[in-house]
Amino acid sequence: MIEAEGLTKIYGSLAAVSDLSFRVEGGEVLGLVGPNGAGKTTTLRCLVGIIPPTRGEIRICGHSLGQEPLAAKRNIAFLPDEPRLFDYLTVKEHLRFTARIYGVRDFQTPAETLLAELELREKADALPAELSRGMKQKLVIACGLLHSPRVLLFDEPLTGLDPIGIRRMKSTILKRAREGAAIIVSSHLLHLVEEICDRVLILNQGRKIIHGTLEEIQRSLPDLRGDISLEDMFLRITGHAEDGTEMK
């Protein structure tokens, strides 16, 4: 469902993402992790068509993002870490607007369901300024899920959510995966990635360091033994000691 082939993004002389290739199948959750500046957000922004890649090919549900951007984008929902909303549209109007953009004919029922699920029903006529950060995040999720996307990309999905919201977000991601969506979750919260992701892709300085299931990654690190967490693996792969200091 998501295919990236030789994805490269260069800013001036800086290669934010270099020759990145991977696939995410339907029903699969890929965790995109890496230190700050590793190129995670740039990768996500390329995958949803916000920024054009310098080189490489991206295919969403079989549609080339470069050649058939509209067909590709109809299948995508991007949920950024910072909720971006229109100041003068109410919660309800955001959903109506999104429905029109994606051509969701009978949006009322799913919109009502989403509002109820995300506990936004009482805020249906509120403007973004009247919402807390968590509520804004929920509204972005509602808008993202309204057109039943087959590809979901989450950038730091737990930011600003309360414990109940966190639990709901995790179950939403897993539920969508069970329903067959291809999902990428970019996060610094390695326990979240460990908990919900089937495969992990670790980026560093724009390059793919490792890609696979947790078992596969662990097998590739023979010097780490026993019950090893993703955090330990991450530190080891990115060249850091257990206390987080950089190894020489």
Partner: protein, 586 residues
């Protein structure tokens, strides 16, 4: 402690200036700054630098007879400004605003409340001094005053007084809101004084206003004399006294007189200071709330969301129409931008306004020739406004890409083609301008025929009005498309959102954009103009004036075609638009 405050303010100002200077390393800011400086030189400083003698040696001072008039007039303005926060509570609420950082550092610190007020007073001096300088450059330019230094001091006194007064009013109103009835007791003397002022104004208006001089025979001097007599009679004399004391130093003929007038002015200022210091109100909570709102605005501004930065608490508005879930996607953008435009209330009352104008003009037209002034004024204003709308409207109504480029991350994820996005974006401002222009055309067509000896027939009025109705919205569309083209081509140069950025380079940017807009607008209108002329002159022999709307319609179609091509081209630009390289904030 005061030294610490000064350190903070001086370092903050210095660092801000350094940041502004560093920005000049970017060519776009440097060019803009040079353009801004050039503008300032041409408009304000050229006379000082080119003809120093003319500017400094030969001032054109105010006539001695006029000075009392000016003093009284300024005092009256000050009286109104002083009453304003009581009529319209909320004015001047800047007085107690602290930044979040200031609250975090200063409120828990072992500092007296009055020291915090002193801090605010000191900080306000920066803007007061800047205001004095700007006022002197813009209004005075040193030409009307013998001694600009005296004017500077007087302006400082006036601005400082107003700043103190607004702070005191704010504290008093806060105390009233906080303490209810006991608040009235706490603020007894302030409220008593206010009541005395209000009653005095009532008494003055009722019994001390002499009749106006007869308009047929009276000259300017008669009106001046009436004004001085009116403002010097009854309670007005005492009411204006403190304000006259504040402004009088500006008009001192020599140093001795200046010093003599300075003391009463300082006395008024000191009384305002005492009042503020004696107003015992715990303002911390209100300041916290203000700081929070300010922080939201700052955050919004820093993240590029300038509209929110300007209005911290927008209100929900009724959508202009019910958006169907299926249909052209660009209609959704049009719908959203109409809501965002916030002019829907005005649009909804348009029919009422039209009816009122029609009734009013019909009534005035029936009054006969003696009352032609009103229709002439209304009609001329309508024509002037319609013309101004064509030029300024596309710059002023910004609910299009100039706003939405700030949300480009979101827009780019939508499955809409580039031309669809651009079309949706330009529709709302064009529609708003079109409705306003049609209303103005209607008013002008109804009213102007009564002018002078020209009495066009109903059909002639209809033809001219119809032509204008065809052409004006198309001109506006071209203007809006141009503005959006600038936003897409040079997002770093165009002011995104509804902000008015400050600084010399921002001024320069605006000038350059304005010149480019006018040039592009003229170029875009040439083909339509040629087609219009060709159709009109060819058709006039056959159809007479009837050809006018036909020529206008053909020209409008040419303009629409140009706009369509431009939208298609801009759509391709939008598709290739790389947010990471050219997006706002870079």
């Amino acid at each position: 402690m005061i030294g610490t405050f000064f350190y903070y303010l001086v370092r903050t100002s210095r660092n801000r200036a350094v940041s502004a200077l560093k920005r000049l390393r970017q060519p776009k800011y440097l060019i803009s700054a040079l353009a801004g400086l050039g503008y300032l030189y041409l408009v304000f400083f050229r006379q000082f630098l080119s003809h120093p003698k003319a500017a400094r040696g030969m001032p054109v001072p105010l006539d001695v007879d006029v000075i009392p008039l000016v003093e009284t007039g300024l005092a009256l303005v000050l009286l109104v400004l002083v009453l304003l926060p009581w009529i319209w509570p909320g004015r001047g609420r800047e007085g107690l605003r602290f930044t979040e950082a200031e609250i975090q550092f200063l409120f828990p610190a072992p500092i007296l409340r009055r020291t915090l007020i002193h801090f605010r007073l000191i900080r306000m001096q920066l803007s007061i001094l800047f205001g004095v300088l700007i006022s002197l450059v813009v209004f005075g330019r040193g030409r009307f005053l013998d001694h600009p230094i005296y004017a500077m001091v007087a302006l400082w006194l006036v601005y400082s007084f107003l700043a103190l007064y607004y702070m005191g009013t704010n504290l008093t109103q806060m105390s009233l809101a906080e303490h209810g009835v006991s608040g009235f007791k706490r603020q007894f003397w302030t409220l008593t004084l206010l009541a005395v002022v209000v009653v005095s104004i009532g008494v003055w208006l009722k019994w001390f206003i002499p009749p106006l001089p007869a308009t047929e025979t009276a000259g300017l001097s008669d009106f001046s004399a009436w004004f001085v007599r009116t403002t010097g009679s009854g309670p007005a004399y005492y009411l204006l006294l403190p304000f006259q004391a504040l402004v009088r130093p500006a008009f001192s003929p020599d140093a001795a007189a200046f010093l003599l007038r300075l003391f009463p002015a300082l006395g008024v200022l000191f009384l305002a200071y005492l009042w503020v210091m004696r107003t015992d109100v715990s303002f911390e909570e209100a300041s916290l709330e203000k700081a929070r709102r300010m922080a939201i605005r700052l955050e919004a501004a820093r993240s590029g969301n300038w509209r929110r930065a300007r209005r911290a608490a927008p209100k929900a508005r009724r959508p202009p129409f019910q958006l169907a879930p299926v249909g052209f996607a660009h209609t959704a953008i049009f719908w959203k931008n109409l809501i965002s435009a916030g002019r829907l209330a005005a649009l909804r009352v348009l029919p009422v306004v039209v009816m009122l104008v029609i009734v009013l003009t019909t009534m005035t037209l029936r009054q006969g020739s003696r009352h032609e002034l009103l229709p002439m004024v209304i009609g001329s204003v309508a024509v002037a406004m319609a013309g101004a709308l064509v030029l300024i409207g596309p710059i002023a109504v910004r609910d299009d890409l100039r706003n939405d480029l700030l949300q480009i991350d979101l827009l780019k994820t939508y499955p809409i083609s580039g031309w669809g996005v651009v079309l949706g974006e330009v529709l709302a401002p064009t529609a708003i301008l079109a409705v306003m222009e049609w209303l103005l055309v209607l008013v002008a067509a109804l009213v102007l025929p009564s002018l002078g000896k020209i009495h066009p027939t109903v059909s002639q009025r209809l033809l001219v009005g119809l032509s204008a109705a065809f052409l004006l919205p198309c001109f506006s569309l071209i203007g809006v498309v141009l503005q959006n083209a600038f936003a897409l081509l040079w997002p770093g140069w165009v002011e995104l959102g509804k902000s008015r950025r400050q600084g010399i380079e921002a001024m320069g940017q605006r000038l350059i954009t304005m010149v480019a807009t006018v040039l592009a607008f003229v170029l875009a209108d040439i083909p339509a103009g040629l087609v219009f002329a060709a159709v009109f002159f060819l058709g006039f022999w056959l159809l007479g004036l009837t050809v006018l709307p036909i020529a206008a319609l053909v020209a409008a179609l040419v303009l629409l075609g140009e706009a369509g091509l431009a939208i298609f081209w801009l759509g391709r630009l939008y598709d290739k638009f790389d947010v990471s390289l050219e997006g706002p904030g870079r």
